[in-house]
């Protein structure tokens, strides 16, 4: 065959496969939304699931997912910032830095089920926190922390080094420079990365099955006492999340409309993750404009 002919065939194949991937995504999203959207209603989003009857909702699961996400971020973000700032601004090239980098890489490569098992062993059993929201949040912290460290490190590294020098020349301490000069510049990148990682946390199930548990107690949404067992805010109660619920309904669901529930819950999950993605993009652009253009500040 002539090289030109081969070239044409190869190019068409590459284009075909690339477009095939686009088709996969369109198909996936289309299928989930097509199957799921018809099942989503206010009632579905707010009512509790039914064990064997049809018509159950995912209200507590949705709430658990969101609450768990908030709890996880409250723990992870400050820790990730600390370690990330160290890696970006303080760590000098050497054995120790290389070792910490390796740790972050290994931690972020652990399968989430292994993280979940570790949580089961240490947090649920050893620390005796049981299947609870807080156990889940701590497991998700292990899962999310390495990512947060990377996000922070990259965000700080992308700040022009002249900013730091200007701070030094004014006689500021390094920590002051980091927190008041560099941090505001790095913040948009950090927030964008955090929102994206939040999407990942929101959809995580394997790390939660054996930590946050696979059940949710009867919640009383009028009870806002965080220590009461039926309060939705109680961090020591079991908390089945939306993602875990999808898995459970698929593998052991007894309700006659189990497939519809799984479809509806999947749609909710995917839409939420999409919103996180779009939110991250939008927010990144918004902050960038706000920081660089002549809009009024403070």
């Amino acid at each position: 065959m002539k090289p030109r002919t081969v070239d044409k065939i190869a190019t068409s194949l590459i284009v075909f496969f690339a477009l095939f991937i686009v088709a996969i995504l369109v198909g996936l999203l289309g299928y989930i939304l097509f199957r799921g959207l018809s099942h989503i209603s206010w009632d579905f989003l707010t009512s509790a699931p039914q064990k064997i009857r049809a018509g159950g909702g995912v209200g507590p699961q949705l709430f658990n997912s969101l609450f768990l996400l908030v709890l996880t971020l409250i723990i992870t973000v400050p820790l990730g910032l600390g370690a990330g700032i160290f890696m970006a601004e303080y760590a000098r090239p050497g054995k120790l830095t290389g070792f910490i980098r390796l740790i972050v890489e290994v931690l972020s490569s652990f399968p989430s089920i292994v993280v979940g098992l570790f949580g089961l062993l240490l947090i649920v059993n050893y620390f005796d926190l049981g299947f609870s929201m807080i156990s889940g949040a701590l497991a998700l912290t292990v899962f999310n922390l390495p990512l947060m460290v990377r996000i922070t490190e990259q965000a700080f590294r992308s700040v022009p080094k002249q900013q730091k020098e200007a701070g030094f020349a004014l006689g500021l301490s390094k920590w002051k420079i980091v927190t008041t000069v560099l941090f505001p510049v790095a913040l948009p990148t950090i927030i964008t990365g955090t929102i994206l990682s939040a999407g990942r946390v929101f959809g995580e199930a394997a790390a939660l099955m054996f930590t946050a548990g696979m059940s949710s107690p009867r919640l009383d949404f009028t009870n806002w006492n965080p220590l009461s067992p039926s309060s939705p805010l109680n961090p020591f109660r079991p908390a089945e999340t939306l993602a875990v619920h999808i898995w459970k309904v698929n593998s052991e669901g007894l309700a006659p409309d189990a497939v519809e529930i799984a479809a509806g819950a999947s749609a909710v999950l995917v839409i939420t993750v999409l919103l996180f993605n779009l939110g991250a993009r939008f927010f990144g652009r918004f902050i960038y404009r706000k920081l660089t253009a002549s809009k009024r500040m403070n």
Binding site: F110, F118, V149, V178, G199, N277
Partner: protein
């Protein structure tokens, strides 16, 4: 200078506070990884130390009967299942991913990237339970109608995993291709080579180590993925005779059985041994990635 008199001035205290906080965060990372390795290893090794199961039986025994009167703990079906779905998924996903990366960087660098970048990000963002749900409601029925068997099995698992690792391989490959010096391509074009000749003889051979990094990262993800695989693979504890037969992986059997066994039983310990295998494989994958990166630098 006056500052000599009192050692602890405001800026010294600030720096001290900052450094202590960062040290705490970094130390926490180290404690997490050490305790993870310690706890999973001590649990996982007890099968061999106190449980009296020989290493050979565990790794190569094909009989998995943990609850029989004379229990046997041959984990070969799970180990081989994990490797099988991982390799198949990489075989399916790699060509597709490389085509997508070529499409983004070589064929239509402008809008190709604009089109595929968000597609890849969204594919990466879809939670694994949703992949499992779609696998169960689309791929499994399709396989059941087209091939012999029940639809569930190794093929279904590998297909679901291949879509899940597409984004990983594609983004690494695209980065590698984009980092290629422009003059390398130009000199090939200048010799009268077609685009495909340039791609196949210059571009791909030069970037192969980097692309392999992406493939290994994808395989690491596939090997550790739990729920999506568990939902479609059938979970029979046997080495399958065909791709359309029900099988199991390390992650799927842990997912299914961990909740139903009592801590400390030899059944439970065997599951921890499998978690240890998962952990060791993570080390192996990270090591392999580092090896490839080092080779790539030279």
């Amino acid at each position: 200078m006056k500052s000599k008199k009192s050692r602890l001035e405001k800026h010294h205290i600030e720096d001290l506070v900052g450094r202590s906080y960062m040290a705490f965060c970094v130390l926490l990372l180290i404690v997490i990884i050490i305790s993870m390795v310690y706890f999973v290893a001590s649990k996982g090794l007890s099968t061999f130390i106190t449980g009296g199961v020989s290493v050979g039986e565990f790794f190569f025994g094909t009989k998995w009967a943990p609850e029989a009167d004379t229990p046997s703990f041959g984990a070969f079906p799970f180990i081989s299942g994990s490797f099988l779905v991982t390799l198949l998924a990489a075989l399916i996903a790699s060509p597709l991913s490389i085509c997508a990366a070529l499409f983004m960087t070589e064929i239509v660098p402008g809008w190709g990237k604009k089109l595929l970048q968000p597609v890849i990000e969204l594919l990466a963002g879809i939670p694994s339970v949703v992949y499992g749900f779609i696998g169960l409601s689309v791929i499994v029925p399709f396989l059941r109608d087209t091939f012999p068997g029940q639809g569930i099995g190794v093929a279904a698992g590998a297909l679901v995993l291949s879509v899940m690792i597409l984004p990983t391989i594609t983004s690494v490959a695209a980065d590698a291709l984009a980092a290629l010096p422009q003059n390398l391509k130009e000199s090939s074009f200048a010799l009268g080579a077609t685009r495909w000749q340039t791609i196949s003889r210059v571009i791909l051979p030069t970037t192969m180590p980097s692309i392999m990094t992406g493939v290994v990262l994808g395989m690491a993800r596939a090997f550790g993925e739990a729920l999506a695989v568990q939902m479609v693979i059938g979970n029979a504890p046997f080495v399958p005779k065909s791709l359309f037969e029900s099988a199991s992986t390390l992650t799927s059997v842990i997912t299914l059985s961990m909740g139903n066994t009592t801590m400390g039983s030899s059944y439970n310990n065997a599951l921890w041994s499998m978690a240890l295998v998962l952990m060791l494989m993570t080390f192996a994958f990270v090591g392999l990635v580092r090896l490839l990166e080092r080779r790539n630098k030279i």
